[in-house]
Structure formats: C-alpha cells, structure tokens
C-alpha cells in the first residue's frame, strides 16, 4: 500500500489555467486600455476649466496634479463627446478584463509567508493601493454614470484623486512586471497558446511567480476559451453601452446603459441631464416676468425674452455631451451669440470670459465660468430655441447657454444673469461678492 500523502489544508486555487502566461496577456490588455482611460479622464478634468474660477473647481487643493491644465478648446465641436464617450465606454468594457486579471493573481493574496522581506512588504502595500485604487475607480465611475451617489463625497474629487493613486501604484507595477510579461509572452508565444485546444491544455510549468496551481484540477476550458469568455464579456458590455454615446438609430441598442432611450419625441425629445423639477426651477420664475441680466464694464442691461428674440439670431449644430458618457446627436440651436451679448455691455472686440448664473436656487453647477475663447467662438450661444421649437422647460426655457465642446453641465440652463469679465458671484456694483 502506498503511504498516504501528508495532510494539508485543501488549496482552493486549483485552476490549471492560472499562470504567468494568462496573467501576462490580461495585463497587456489592461496596459493598453488603462492609459487611454487615464488620459481621457485627465482631458475631462481639464474640460471644466478648473484653473479659471473657483466655481468650476471641485478640487481646489489639487496642487501639482493640475500641472497640465490648459484652456479647453471649442474645436472640434465634438471633442468632449468623443473623449468622454471613449472614457466611459472603455471603462465599462474593461470591467471583465480587470476581473479576470484579478482572478488570475488571486492566489498571491494568500501567499505564505505573508511578508518575506522589507521589499515584499512594500510591494504588498503598493498592491493594496493598486487593487483598492483600481476597484475604487471602476466602482465610483460605474456608480456615477447610473446616478448612484453612494460614495463618500464629491465624485469629481474622489474619481480624480483616486485616479492618481491608482496610476501611481500602476507605474511601479508596470516597471516591476513588464519584464516578466515580455519574457513570458516571448517564451510561450501568444499564437501557439491561442491554438491550443482543451485536450492539450496543461498547467504552466511551476515557476517563481507563484501563480501556477500546486494541485491543479482537470481543465474544463482552454486558455483560448477563457480569454474568449473575457472577450465575450467585453463585447456584451460594449453592445449594451456604446449606443448611448454614438446616438442616432444605435441609441436603442444600448439596452442597459442609462441613456439608451430618448425621453420624448419632437425637437425637445433628446436627453435631459437634469429636469426643471429636480433643479427646483418653477414655471413662475420663467414666465413673462423673466428678464436676462447682462453685466460688464460697470453696465447693466436687462432683456425680456421678446427682446432677445428681436436680436439677430444665429444657428449652431451642437451636441450635449455629459461627463456620464452619454451624448445627444447634434441639435440645431437658435439664439444670440454670447459675443453679441458681450457687445451690449461695451465689449465690442475681444470679449472676456463670462460668469453664467442660473435660476436654479441651489446645487453644484448652478453657476459656471466660461473662458474668453468660449465666449469668442461665434457658435457659442444663449439659445432660445432648439430644432425649430422653443426650448422646453427641461432643456432650459427661457434661455440656456450652449458652447462647442464644453461638458454638458457647463451649458447652463434657465440662465438668469451673464456677467462678462467676472469669474465669481458679484454685487450690483460689479465687485466680487
């Protein structure tokens, strides 16, 4: 009789697929995708012009992390629609890759001894920041696009600072692991493994990475099949999500994305970020008594909607593109260019930026500061009509701002006051309040 093997606790990590090859392939995909997420995220942060005014800045303590900020351009007009659509859609599509990557390295969490050396301890601390930071970024992003604000604080702060924590840890991880990934993929080959069917799928040879199971089970799927499942997951998420950013007839294909359906029909039937009811803008605030106040150069002009309609109107074809990744198609806005309104208070050439205030009584983004380049773009309007009809209450009646390439919330609805040359609330005499 053979002697029984020594008893040891059953190792729960028995998948024969785990090993440096699988981890390297998944890591390489993430290494291609995460920088795109990071850069489009940084662009979105810059698109709010946080360095222009306190009101635009949810992260006044950003310090060096705002090193790259620049004036957000108005060309091409679809810029933010593209960058933010890519950011959100790619983030959603990478979820299965991230989960598979974490699954592939799960045994490392329980590796014994837990701390081999000072170096190992530091690396594990870094991995906590990497895994915790990564899951935090994906979770806050995915919750935010579904309006589920359960995270501890302002999304902008958490997602921006969290991104830097994640990327900081990712840098070290990349430096330390890329050599192993390159060696593994060179030695084992990508195509050879992708051609290996289930019958010939074997555990990888034991190696110092500690990923290969000590007591591997029989394989039930090839590595090709496992990667195929991850890819199928990404494809499924792409199909039920991308339509909300592409728009047109494809919008309806976004079956699970928050903005896969238009809220109505007709000229005002496109996506609404925030309804008038939610913003507490009441019909009596927007009726006959409504006046737009335009200030600047120490002057004040008050205009009724009829007076605004009597000014020369201009048409701009522009989309609404939200930080949540969805966007509307190009809408035909009609209204008065912001630079014409600047001229009313004496800024005839090279108008400055403008501080825009809404009737909305409370909440973030009830006021924003726009930069001079945004005011000077002739397509930037105080819009009165869209698609040939008056703006609906939910789209900002009696008047809203629309600026090419600006994030959705920078296009203030239910506008009450425009102060040219200001970046914050001012008193009647034009002094900062």
């Amino acid at each position: 009789m053979r002697p029984l093997p020594p008893r040891r606790p059953p190792n729960p990590f028995r998948s024969p697929l785990r090993g440096p090859w699988l981890t390297s392939v998944l890591g390489t995909v993430l290494l291609a995708g995460l920088p795109v997420l990071f850069v489009t995220g940084l662009l979105s942060y810059a698109a709010y012009n946080p360095d222009l005014a306190r009101i635009n800045d949810k992260t006044p303590d950003k310090g060096l992390l705002g090193f790259y900020l620049f004036s957000w351009p108005t060309h091409p007009y679809w810029l933010y629609r593209l960058t933010q659509g890519v950011h959100v859609t790619l983030g959603v599509v990478l979820v299965p890759v991230l989960l598979a990557k974490l699954w592939s390295v799960a045994p490392k969490l329980f590796a014994l001894p837990p701390l081999r050396s000072a170096g190992h301890a530091l690396e594990r601390l870094s991995l906590l920041l990497l895994v915790g930071g990564g899951l935090f970024e994906f979770a806050t992003g995915i919750l935010n696009v579904q309006l589920d604000y359960v995270f501890p604080g302002s999304f902008y702060r958490l997602h921006f600072y969290g991104a830097w924590v994640f990327v900081g840890a990712l840098l070290a991880h990349t430096v330390l692991k890329v050599p192993i990934a390159v060696r593994t993929l060179r030695d084992r080959g990508l195509r050879a493994e992708l051609r290996t069917p289930l019958e010939r799928t074997r555990p990888e040879p034991r190696d110092p990475t500690g990923l290969v199971a000590t007591d591997p089970a029989e394989p039930t799927v090839s590595r090709r099949g496992a990667l195929g499942m991850v890819g199928l997951g990404s494809l499924a998420l792409l199909l039920v999500t991308a339509g909300q950013s592409i728009g047109g007839p494809l919008r309806r294909t976004a079956l699970l994305a928050p903005r896969g359906r238009n809220p109505g029909t007709g000229p005002n039937g496109f996506q609404v970020n925030k309804t008038a009811a939610l913003a507490h803008v009441r019909p009596q605030d927007t009726g006959e008594a409504w006046r737009l106040t335009v200030r600047g150069n120490g002057r004040t002009v008050r205009l009724s909607r009829a007076e605004l309609e009597a000014m020369p109107q201009r048409t701009s074809m522009l989309p609404i593109a939200c930080v949540e990744g969805w966007s509307s198609g190009d809408q035909r806005w009609e209204g008065v260019p912001l630079r014409e309104l600047a001229a009313l208070v004496g800024h005839h050439t090279d108008p400055p930026g403008v501080f825009v205030e809404s009737l909305q009584p409370a909440g973030s983004f009830r006021a924003v500061a726009l930069r001079a380049n945004q005011v000077r773009d002739g397509r930037a309007l105080l819009a009165l009509r869209v698609g040939g009809a008056d703006l609906s209450p939910d789209h900002g009646y009696p008047a809203r701002v629309i600026v090419p390439a600006a994030p959705g919330v920078m296009n203030t609805k239910w506008v009450r006051q425009l102060t040219f040359g200001a970046t914050t609330f001012t008193t009647d005499s034009g002094e900062p309040a």
């Binding site: 000072a118 070290a172 330390l176 079956l255 359906r261 609404v272």
Partner: protein
C-alpha cells in the same frame, strides 16, 4: 539585455552596467531589503505619487474613503472571488465535468451553462443600480424617463443568452451523433 546596441548608446549602457554592478556589490542590500535596488526605487517613486494624491483623497471624509478602497479590495478578494469560484465548482460538480475519465460531453454541458451565466452576472454587476431599481426615483427625477425597463431587459438578455447557448449545445450534440 544582451542584444547589440547602436554605438551612441554603448557609453550609457556601460555606465548603467557599472552602476548596477556597484549596487549589486553593496554589502547585503538584498539580504536586508529582500529585493533589488531597482525594486525599491520604483516603489518609492510610486509611493511619492500615491502619497501626494492620497493626502488629497483623504482630506475630507478619510474614514469613508479608506473604508471604500480597502473594502473594495477585501470585498472583491474575500467575497466575490470565492463566491463565483464556488458557484463554478458547484456547477461542474453537478454536471460531472472535470471528472476522470474526462467526458467531453459533460464538460461541454457545464460550459454551455457557464458562459451565459457569467455574461448575465457580469451585466448585472455593472448595471446593478439600474437593474435593481435602487436609483429608480432619482433616475426618473433627473432624466424624465422611467428606470422600469432595465430589469425586464436584463432578464430578456439573460433568457436570450441561455437560449442561444442551448441551441448551440443542441447543434453540437446533433453533429456528434451524426458523426457517431
């Protein structure tokens, strides 16, 4: 690196080699630290970035954020992974897959449940707030549309995935029988 380099790099490479050799000879660096000096440099540089951002991330509700970052890692590693790993093992045990001698058919049955189930659960995980109707009231107030359809849509997609998988399995079985 052993490949041939252009001559203008060889000076820098030689200097790098000399520096690495000197670091390697440092008495007991590896014995004390356990890893190479490069490892320490990479981690310290990374901690500088992380620390700078963490100080800001934790500036307001630090406990809430720590709870989220550490909680996310623990919830994933100690709850989510064992949960889906365990479910997968139960599925395979129920289907008799992975048993010796190997049965291609049993493995195939298990995989035809595994694939649609994992896709369906993935969609549920990502779109949980909408599918569960946790945010239905806020969603309706903000967008002016109802969050009602998301649950039905997820159920319909799940049904379609299982139906497609069953069709594929039936087709595989028919082909196998025809081949004998």
């Amino acid at each position: 690196m052993t490949g041939r380099r252009p001559p203008f790099l060889s000076g820098a490479a030689a200097a790098g080699r000399r520096l690495r050799a000197r670091l390697r000879r440092l008495p007991g660096f590896r014995a004390v630290y356990g890893e190479s000096p490069r490892h320490l440099v990479a981690l310290l540089a990374s901690f500088a970035v992380c620390g700078y951002a963490l100080a800001r991330l934790l500036a307001r509700d630090w406990f809430g954020v720590v709870e989220w970052v550490v909680g996310a890692a623990l919830l994933h590693d100690l709850v989510l992974v064992p949960l889906y790993g365990g479910a997968d093992r139960l599925l395979h045990r129920a289907a008799g897959a992975g048993r010796r001698p190997r049965s291609r058919w049993r493995t195939s049955v298990a995989n035809h449940i595994r694939v649609p189930a994992s896709l369906s659960l993935l969609l549920l995980l990502v779109y949980w707030p909408l599918v569960s109707r946790d945010v239905a009231a806020r969603y309706r107030a903000a967008t002016g549309t109802s969050a009602e359809p998301f649950r039905e849509r997820w159920l319909a997609i799940t049904g379609a995935l299982f139906a497609l998988s069953a069709l594929h399995l039936a087709w595989t079985a028919w082909r196998r029988r025809r081949r004998g």
